[in-house]
């Protein structure tokens, strides 16, 4: 999801820098007001862990592998503002020392992976925590949050690249959303795997979430999530179909568009919507499985 230098127009890069700088400035102000600020050594250590965890690849199938991004995990461990500072440090080191993501594109990358990753994920963990108490709520919420954060990050990347004029937005958006539904599920699974282990070994480390408030019925949450997925799908479908996408454009140029449309009616129109709904349902299933896995953990030990 890292955007390298040379892809964003100066105006877009500057706008993204302003948004990201405002986010980091707010995070620093919030951190300064803390009565018990966390030592920078600990925050840096979590940042180093996130960096290193990205080195541990999971084989997805023969020849391909994926890795953790870690923004939602960091938000659950540290709280969203501190997590934003940790992700900002990770992205800065990646951009400066490893040329992974550009210096000029740093603002956009921080918006997509830091702001979006931490806050979308954290918000969902909080919402789920209101329905499911204790470690199960944290883990299930983090799984859903990691999925949503990845997809929202992909949406951000599409918008930056589209507005910069590099790709037509109508072409890049469906491609990014469909591919990142799969990547989001991987991120969700990896986040869940780490949290299940952590909540079993050291539940006290999960300090970013207060899990003591809960009480609403999980069925209401499930229905709400499904409704939200459908709403997003309904919003995206007409947007994605407003202009021909890359495949349609190529098909029109090469003269087989009408045959393609006859063979696959509306596929390019509804693909992001279908992928979004299926992805959300799969992530919800994953969250349920992770929650079940943690049923043996004593909730009181976590509080």
């Amino acid at each position: 999801m890292h955007i390298p230098d040379g892809f964003l127009s100066p105006g877009v890069a500057a706008t993204a820098w302003v948004v990201a700088a405002a986010g980091v400035a707010t995070a620093l102000r919030v951190e300064r007001r803390e009565t018990a600020p966390m030592p920078a050594g600990i925050l840096g250590s979590v940042a180093a862990f996130i960096f290193a965890a990205q080195m541990v690849n999971v084989p997805v199938a023969a020849g391909t592998s994926g890795h953790l991004v870690g923004a939602t995990l960091a938000a659950v461990l540290l709280g969203p503002w501190r997590a934003l500072l940790a992700i900002a440090a990770v992205l800065a080191v990646q951009a400066l020392l490893f040329q992974d993501g550009g210096v000029l594109a740093y603002g956009a990358n921080l918006c997509d992976m830091g702001l979006s990753g931490c806050f979308v994920g954290y918000a969902i963990v909080r919402v789920v925590g209101r329905f499911v108490s204790g470690p199960r709520g944290v883990a299930a919420g983090a799984v859903l949050g990691a999925f949503a954060a990845t997809v929202s990050g992909a949406l951000g990347v599409s918008i930056w690249l589209g507005v910069s004029g590099l790709y037509p937005l109508s072409a890049i958006l469906p491609v990014m959303l469909v591919t990142h539904v799969a990547i989001g599920l991987l991120e969700a699974a990896l986040t869940g795997a780490i949290l299940v282990t952590l909540l079993r070994w050291r539940p006290d480390l999960v300090a970013g979430i207060d899990t003591s408030v809960a009480g609403r019925r999980p069925a209401v949450l499930a229905l709400g999530l499904f409704g939200a997925a459908l709403a997003v799908a309904a919003f995206l479908a007409p947007f994605a179909s407003a202009l021909p996408d890359g495949l349609e454009k190529t098909a029109e140029t090469l003269g087989f568009a009408s045959r393609a449309r006859a063979a696959l009616p509306g596929l390019t129109v509804v693909a992001p919507a279908i992928a979004g709904v299926l992805g959300t349902v799969a992530a919800a299933g994953l969250a349920f499985a992770v929650g079940r896995k943690l049923e043996t953990v004593n909730d009181d030990a976590h509080r």
């Binding site: 250590s45 960096f51 999971v58 900002a88 440090a89 400066l96 210096v103 869940g192």
Partner: protein, 210 residues
């Protein structure tokens, strides 16, 4: 050898990155100006010379730059194909040249400074103290954490619990995720324990909050 003013070096390096990254590459149907090509030609050559002067060898500098190229090409290729479809070979070549130039300038700047002077440079640029402290702590911890990752992966392979050719998230999802969860959670715990002991040692020596 210490750099006299790391802040100035970092500022100049970042300015070159920005210049190379913002030089027009022919998008939106505009022509690629001659000065863009000059920038994208001069910057990699200057970066190579800087790397050579710091690393002291032609082949080492060439290897460092060559290591960048697969990543740059992999990231640039989709955009190049898209741009070339509408703007032709010139726009595609311009995008590749721009990406190589920006990555080379960044690499040369940071290699010239090294991690310690990079932190000094960030401080000299008056970035927020707390943020620079976190980046500093991250760099301090990074070497140890990366070494731990490598050790853990080597131990896993030695125990025969590494990935078999057909194992994976699809064929054995439960085992793969459990293994990943344990190895990364273990890594996090070790990282935090190390950071906590470093912090205790700092405070015991009378250092203030970091």
């Amino acid at each position: 050898m210490r750099t006299a003013s790391p802040g100035l070096v970092l500022a100049v390096g970042l300015a070159v990155v920005v210049l190379a990254a913002t030089a027009p590459a022919g998008l939106h149907g505009r022509p690629v100006p001659a000065w863009s090509w000059i920038v994208w030609s001069v910057v990699p050559v200057a970066s190579f010379a800087l790397l050579r002067s710091k690393r002291g060898g032609l082949m080492i500098a060439a290897r460092q730059l060559a290591l960048l190229l697969p990543t740059v090409f992999m990231l640039t290729l989709p955009a190049v194909l898209f741009a070339a479809a509408s703007g032709g070979v010139v726009v595609g070549s311009a995008l590749i040249a721009r990406s190589v130039a920006t990555a080379a300038a960044g690499l040369a700047t940071v290699t010239y400074l090294g991690p310690v002077e990079l932190i000094a440079g960030l401080r000299a640029l008056r970035l927020p103290e707390r943020f620079v402290d976190i980046v500093h702590a991250m760099l301090v911890g990074l070497t140890a954490v990366v070494r731990q990752v490598k050790d853990m992966l080597r131990a896993r392979t030695a125990r025969g619990t590494g990935h078999a050719p057909w194992s994976g998230l699809i064929s054995a999802p439960g085992a793969t995720l459990r293994g990943f969860g344990r190895i990364t959670a273990g890594l996090l715990l070790r990282s935090l324990e190390r950071a906590e002991s470093l912090e205790r040692a700092r405070r015991a020596r009378g250092a203030g909050g970091w």
